[in-house]
């Protein structure tokens, strides 16, 4: 074949010209088909609602809820201890590198920024008519509430933290003071109070969303952190709280699985997948999958036992206080949760107990009796036997466990059907706390009779109708007789502890009461000293002279707040570490 050079040349040159012509602008503009951009979102009201839902989602995280807020609220009070990887909490040597703190910090700020940008987007959506004014206001209120609540827990845990109030900050703001942060909480909650819906009008299908009442509760507490007790009283006395929320008649019912989102609960974190065996991490990363309540159960039953109680907490309940075994159970105590009894007939009904009793299983080879044999030789129905408490396989636990976290009848721990993860909501704020906080405000403002009246409301319920006039702990931690508590502030602190321990607020409330108050209170409860290792327990069935994971370390001066996470400092060098870390 003869190739004609002339034609080829012309064709080639045309080809060379062709590319730049075909090189239209859109050759370089590719469409994003694997992620949604802003243009594709917020065209309908569900998208705007979804934007706010994602702020709630930030709290569905075990590092944030359990390993940061719950640990701080409870381990720091020495009512509870950790067994496992986080025992640094037991002697107040939490490191700035403790990973969960960073997750807490991170999720809280993600929520804050999500709220900041939601405030902007909702405002636009309202203007454009994508959402109605009514829905728009509710959503704005939720965003203010959730931002305020995040700052509330951040400042309560770390002291002052940086205030970020815009949607796209550079992330390098230094810390504000604790007072500035709580002032922001007050401001946000006040906005929320006007915008949110009242509990009375929130549709049942939206249960779990923030309400005006919840905003007043957090505002009041934030005012107390600022020492503004009169303003706090105003918030606590608002009818959105006093008319719409009530103490449940029976204390045991407050934490029952069948009573979630109850009439006493002001705000709780919602979970939604029942009875899961999944270890896929849903319980860590914002998934609906569940909560790790059975991690607190005895190792004998759950295979975990990662946290356990201080025996002294059980002894400190005044005689007749029905809160005792609804809060903590130990050797010889039955689980009195109606839900657990209905499903299993008590501890004796769990498969691992039945099998273990049958096989004479011992959790530890040093044991004299089978782990599941009761003091009477029959199958055990108590949280360990008096003659042989449940110390766990390595004998490092106290034998006492949290009854508030043993309510979900679907769970079996890592035994039986291995249903580890449940869906029980976690109550962050409830009306009893409001009443006790109000009592403290009244003490602070000199209204002692008013304070005692508020305490009585809570105590009457605790004692099944009518509390003894004299307030007095059952026994000291080492089994000695006690004297009546007469100082009004100490009465409030004692009620904080006995009503709210094992939940999400105790140590926050103790620290809120002022410098040194918490350390003195804990010292008095547990006789803390300079020891930094576990000490033999001096009293009760677990006083065998051996070590069972009970520390008596005093709360060091600077360690009533947590260290700023090291990683956060690394990414924002303007953050200054708290002293002593």
């Amino acid at each position: 074949m003869k190739i004609n050079k002339k034609y080829f040349t012309i064709a080639a040159l045309c080809g060379a010209m062709l590319i730049p012509l075909s090189c239209k602008k859109n050759f370089l503009t590719q469409t994003n088909t694997t992620a949604s951009n802003a243009d594709a979102t917020f065209q309908k009201s569900q998208d705007v609602v979804a934007l706010v839902n994602s702020i709630y989602d930030g709290y569905q995280n075990s590092d944030l809820l359990k390993k940061s807020i719950w640990y701080y609220a409870n381990f720091t009070s020495h009512d509870w201890f950790n067994d496992g990887g986080d025992i640094a909490w037991n002697n107040y040597t939490i490191s700035p590198t403790f990973g969960a703190l960073y997750t807490f910090w991170q999720n809280a700020y993600f929520d804050i920024i999500r709220a900041n940008s939601a405030l902007e987007i909702i405002a636009t959506a309202k203007t454009k008519g994508v959402v109605t004014a009514e829905l728009g206001n509710r959503l704005l209120g939720e965003a203010y509430f959730l931002r305020g609540m995040s700052y509330y827990y951040l400042a309560g845990s770390f002291g002052g933290v940086p205030l970020e109030l815009k949607s796209n900050p550079n992330g390098l703001a230094p810390r504000n003071t604790q007072a500035e942060v709580f002032a922001q909480v007050v401001a946000d909650m006040k906005q929320a109070e006007t915008l949110l819906q009242s509990k009375t009008v929130l549709p049942a299908t939206e249960k779990g969303r923030a309400t005006k009442g919840a905003a007043y509760a957090y505002e009041g507490s934030a005012q107390m952190w600022l020492g503004k007790y009169a303003e706090a009283l105003t918030a606590f006395n608002n009818t959105e709280l006093t008319a719409n929320y009530h103490l449940l008649p029976k204390f045991i019912d407050v934490h029952e699985f069948s009573n979630q989102n109850n009439d006493e609960s002001l705000f709780e974190i919602q979970f939604d997948i029942q009875g899961s065996q999944s270890w896929d991490g849903g319980w860590q990363n914002g998934g609906e999958v569940a909560w790790i309540d059975d991690f607190s159960w005895p190792h004998e039953l759950s295979g975990f036992g990662y946290d356990y109680g201080n025996p002294g907490l059980e002894y400190s309940y005044q005689t007749g206080d029905l809160r005792k075994n609804a809060t903590i159970i130990g050797p010889g105590d039955q689980n009195i949760s109606p839900g657990i009894i209905a499903k299993w007939g008590g501890i004796k009904g769990y498969q691992v107990v039945i099998d273990g009793f049958k096989n004479g299983t011992k959790d530890n080879s040093a044991q004299k009796y089978g782990s599941f044999v009761g003091d009477d030789g029959n199958i055990i129905n108590t949280c360990g036997a008096l003659r042989q408490p449940w110390y766990g396989d390595d004998l490092t636990r106290s034998g006492f466990y949290c009854a508030k976290k043993w309510r979900d009848p679907n769970l079996t721990g890592a035994n039986g059907s291995s249903t580890i993860f449940g869906s029980q909501n976690q109550i962050l704020m409830r009306y009893a706390e409001v009443l006790l906080s109000r009592a403290e405000c009244k003490v602070r403002t000199g209204d002692i009779p008013g304070a005692l009246a508020d305490l009585k409301l809570v105590r009457d319920r605790a004692f099944g109708g009518s509390a003894p006039a004299v307030m007095q702990d059952g026994l000291t931690y080492d089994g000695k007789a006690t004297t009546p508590i007469t100082d009004p502030l100490q009465m409030v602190l004692s009620e904080y502890r006995h009503e709210l321990t094992g939940e999400y607020s105790l140590f926050y409330l103790l620290r809120r009461a002022g410098p040194g108050v918490a350390a003195t209170f804990i010292q008095k409860n547990y006789g803390t000293d300079a020891t930094v290792t576990p000490q033999p327990y001096p009293y009760g069935p677990t006083a065998d002279g051996k070590l069972h994971g009970v520390w008596r370390t005093s709360l060091p001066a600077n360690h009533d707040i947590l260290p700023i996470p090291q990683t956060a400092i690394g990414l924002n060098p303007n953050l200054k570490q708290n002293p002593g870390y």
């Binding site: 002697n91 970020e164 979630q260 939604d272």
Partner: protein, 1053 residues
Amino acid sequence: MLVSMSGYAQSKITGKVTGADDGLPIPGVTVKVKGGAAVTSTNTEGTYSITAGSNATLIFSFIGYTSQEVAVGSNSSVNIKLAPENKALNEVVVVGYGSAKRSDVTGAISSVNAATIAKVPVTSLDQALQGRAAGVQVTNNDASPGSNITVLIRGTGSLASGGNTPLYVVDGYPINAGGINNINPSDIASIDVLKDASATAIYGVRAANGVVMVTTKKGKKDGGAQVEFNAYNAFQSKPKQYDLLNAQQFATLANDVAANDPNKHFTTLANWASPSSLTNADWQNAIYRSGLTQNYDLAIRGGNEKVQSSTSIGYYDQKGIVLGSYFKRITVGENLDYQPTKWLKSATSAKYSYQNLNNPFGTGNLGNINQLPPTLDGGNKLTSQIKDANGNYGFFNPIYTYVAKNNNPIYSIETNQYKNINNYFLVNSSLEATIFDGLKFKTNGGITYTGYNGSYFQPSDSRKIDQYGAAAGASGTALYSQHINSTFDWLWENYLSYDKTFGSHTINFVAGVSQQESDYNSLGGSVTPPNNTIKSLSQGTNLILDANTNGAVNNGEVKRSYASQFARLAYNYASKYYLTGTVRRDGSSQFAPGHQYGTFYSGAVNWNVKKESFLTNVNWLSGLKFRGSYGELGNQHGIGDFTYQSLYSAGASATASGNLGYAFGKVGGSNGTYQAGVASIQPENDNIRWETDYVTDIGMDASFLNGELSLTVDYFNRKSKDFLLNIAASPQTGYNTLPSNVGSMVNKGWEFALNYNHAVNSDVHIDLGLTLSFIKNRLTGLYSGTNAISNFGGLGLTGDGWSEFTRTYIGQPIGEFYGYKAIGIIQSQAQLTALNSAAQAKGNDFYYKATTGVGDRLYADVDGSGKITADDRVALGSPQPKFFGGFNLGGSYKSWDFNAYFYGVYGNKILNYQESNLESFAQRGSVSIENVSKQYYNNYWTPTRSSNRYAAVHYDDTDYGNLLPSSAWIENGSFLKLKTVTVGYSLPQDLVKKLTLSKIRVYVSSQNLFTITKYTGLDPEIGTQNANPTQNGVDNGTYPSSRFYTIGLNVVF
């Protein structure tokens, strides 16, 4: 003709032409009479016969050899030795969109030819560059089969993962990162590494990290056909192992720890009470084996003036030294060149490769082997062995918390099924037309296709439940996962070139346009299969499709396109003064509309001093050239697509982890209703722009002794600005990471390449080569406002304080190790009391922690606060070497050839994380225990056995801080390795000829024969992990290297 016949007496001249390097006859040498018409060529024996006048001069020329002119005088026989061409000056180097004689090049270019590549059996051509090209640092990140390799040309300019990868251009086609592994090294004719701006600017936004031009072998025009067969088998020995405790020692240690644990937290297993009764589990012995590599290449090459063809088939099969690891590759290559008319020619390069790779215990995971407790007693009730004669695998006691979490890796490797298959095509064709003398038009089009198919199958495992019941936890469910992805990439380029010499003025001009688009598609997920044979996503239950994360698309399609225009003008005057200017305007879809284009350029000068009259007669100097260049180059590696867009995500599905929604409406014990959530995962940032490198190069090329000795020296200064990174963000921004232009860096350095090539006589030939590179890297700025950047990129080292192990401050080298300064062990209570008192005097509670005791590690209180806190951490040394280089020692004697090749680095530090594990009894980050080294066991501090190096043993170190990232784990990483030594023998020609062959060479070689180093770990050659320079030089259990013993054969038919 008649005239000359009458003027001179004609006579017949005969002779033989042999190679000055090997003394072998050279067939096909053109022999010409100078000024006359007579021409002939040597026959297969290298002899020739030509008719010439007396006093004629004969010209001998042959490709690859220096032409020689010989005055015949009155001789009738002229035997000559042709010297191989002086590589330094006359070889042709491939530059972007063209080629040039080395002597005419203005840029800094290092070249490696086929002969050099053939000297070392390598899997990938990257490895062939190690130490051979000055300024190019090649590190085997680990020694696994088909392993990943880091190639850094002139240092680290970017912090992005993969952000320092050079551009590879195979036969004119710029391929995507990673593709180079598909090219069979024995198909390669030459590798030209373009290093400075003058050489690389023609590749614009992909030029900053240097460009590796790969040219594959073509057929020759000489009318002959050559069949070549190469084979080798390499036996690989078991690697060096850590000296760890056996079962008896370990149980003894465990009992001691339990007895001394103040928290009474740790208890031992009952049957460990009598250590002598335990069965030893030697995990290293079980996991390591000897390896075997087989490689076979068959090629046929040849052609005539019109058509040249080269076809090759290669098979590579490596069984790795770690159980379950292997790499198999089949390659097929074809080059076809066709010139139908004088003015039109075409060239086609087609490459196919099939790869099958597996490495169940990759880098990092191998560290776990050393951590496993050395006994399985009390586990599987059927056997305490790792695997017994009946095929039962041991497992750890599932009830005893401290070992329950460990798995038997031998069981996993032998039971689980892995598949990682890659298919790769590269087809590229060009058509070149000479329109008139000097003006050429070329169109070049091609595709690459990469197809990956991977799967993993893990059968269900109920052994523990069967033996221990519910207390053993949940039974292991089966899992099947499959991932398929493909990338289709096409390229079309048109360009014009004009080359012309007018008197003393020479012009080379090229200008054109280029378009390239790649289309990535992927699909992947996992299911619980119904039984142990079904491998189908549709047959299983619990289907979970892989989620698209920000920056990684696991399900879906991503397209990426480039449009570019480029031009280069080179001018020289009398081959003395050279000027080159290059420009490229690149457009990329990865940036926001309106910000898609960037223009990059370079300018260079070159002065060939040797051509100046004052040096013409300086005979000792054969060549001298000075070069200088400056340019601005782009880099866009490491940035994902659509990083400029504001993106929202609904997270994972309602039931999966990581969803962003929430359930409302729960009443009592009933469930609520899940409502979807949406959150911003990336804010809009239109200002994302190219990384720009400002590169200066000053170089000198000199040669001496008729070119036998050559020296190239280059100084470079590379300033990288605006490097692109998806960087860890302060959580206060609302994001984990934010893509942005992050900061700036500078790399300055010197490169030296020295070569000596000398034929002592026809029997003895010497060949020496030395490269040395000195590179100083500094971070010069961060735009985020922070003054330092910590390690990021996924290398998770567990343990207290180990989330941060490198921190690079502005002004310091990238990836500098960071931690506490270990200064010994606390020896006495008095010393501890003094430390605590001093701390308390400054308002602290304790010197370190309340629990710190005698026998624990002592750290320097750098900030003088009295207490050891995170603020006492300091820079502990850089993983970047002060210099590195290669030394080649080659020679031949008659039919024997010899080559030894050394590679070394000097002045770098290694973070021996592995050592910290070998001194840790608790498995950090988990309630578990692990094995320790004998060295530690025999030396750790006890009240009766003092040590200032090995801290006391504790169950959980978190309370004591002996294992924090500290100078205790920093070691000198300098090494010198004898990478390879080879002895070859070529069979005598007469024998070969009897076999109707042209050449038979057999050789034996050994790799990694010895390493000189002070490093105490297994192998000091440790690279970056996940191609991230902030996690460089960390030994967390890399796949070790060991000796290879190779026997090989080259046959040419």
